[in-house]
Symmetry: C2
C-alpha cells in the first residue's frame, strides 16, 4: 500500500496495453485496478465474486447473460455498475475507455470459466503499477 | 444491487448534506459510497478496516497520525489514497469536494473511536441513495 496519494491519470499514462489491469492500491483483501480497454473482452464468469466497474473516461458496454436472456448495459463516463457473481458477462468498448474495477485480490481478469482468449486479452490477476 | 448503471453525478445531485455518505452500490460485502464534504470531519480510527478514497471533484486533505508524527496528504481530483486500518485520520476540504469511498458494509463514518462529533457531521453507516 502506497503512503502517498496516486493520481489515476499519471498511472494511466504509464501503460498502453489494453485489457491488462493495473493494481493501483489495495483496501483490505481487495484490489483497486485500472485498465485501458478497447474492442471486445471475452465472455467469462466469476463464480464467487461480484465485480465493480467505474468508467473514468469513454464508454463501456457490458453484455450480460441473465435468466431472462441476454442484455447489454452501457456505462458512460462517471457511471458505475456491479456484475453479480455467477453472471456470464462480456465487457467491450468500441471507441475505447478507461475503467476502474474493484474486486478481491487474485480475481482472474478472464474469470473462472471463459471462452477462448484472443492474443490481445491478458490473462492476469492484475499487474502492479 | 441495482440492475442498471448508476450515473455518479445524478446521484450527487440527489442530496446536499455534507459528511453524510450515500451507498450507491455494493460489491460482495463492501459498500461503494459517495459523499459531499466541506470543512472538517473529526479525528477517528477504523480499527479493523482500511478505507479507500477517490476524489471525484475538488480537493481533499487527510490528516494522519502516524508513528513518526502527524502529516497531511492532499488528494486532488482523480487521486486515490488508502488510510490503513488503525491509523487515526481526519479528512477535511476547505473549498469542498466530492469523494468516493470503498469500505466494508457497516463501517461507521466516524470510526470505532473518535473525538466529539459536531452537529454538521453525520454518524452513519451510510444512507441508501
Amino acid at each position: 500500500m502506497t503512503t502517498q496519494p496516486i493520481d489515476i491519470n499519471t498511472a494511466l499514462d504509464g501503460f498502453d496495453a489494453i485489457w491488462s489491469p493495473r493494481i493501483i492500491t489495495n483496501v483490505n483483501d481487495y484490489d483497486i485496478r485500472i485498465a485501458k480497454v478497447k474492442g471486445d473482452h471475452v465472455w467469462h464468469v466469476h463464480e464467487s465474486t461480484d465485480e465493480f466497474f467505474l468508467v473514468l473516461d469513454g464508454e463501456l458496454d457490458i453484455a450480460l447473460r441473465e435468466p431472462d436472456g441476454e442484455r447489454v448495459v452501457t456505462l458512460r463516463k462517471d457511471s458505475v455498475f456491479v456484475v453479480p457473481r455467477g453472471t456470464f458477462h462480456k465487457p467491450s468498448s468500441h471507441a475505447g475507455a478507461h475503467i476502474m474495477v474493484v474486486e478481491p485480490i487474485g480475481t482472474l481478469s478472464v474469470g473462472d470459466r471463459h471462452e477462448e482468449v484472443p492474443s490481445y486479452v491478458d490473462v492476469t490477476t492484475g499487474h502492479r503499477v
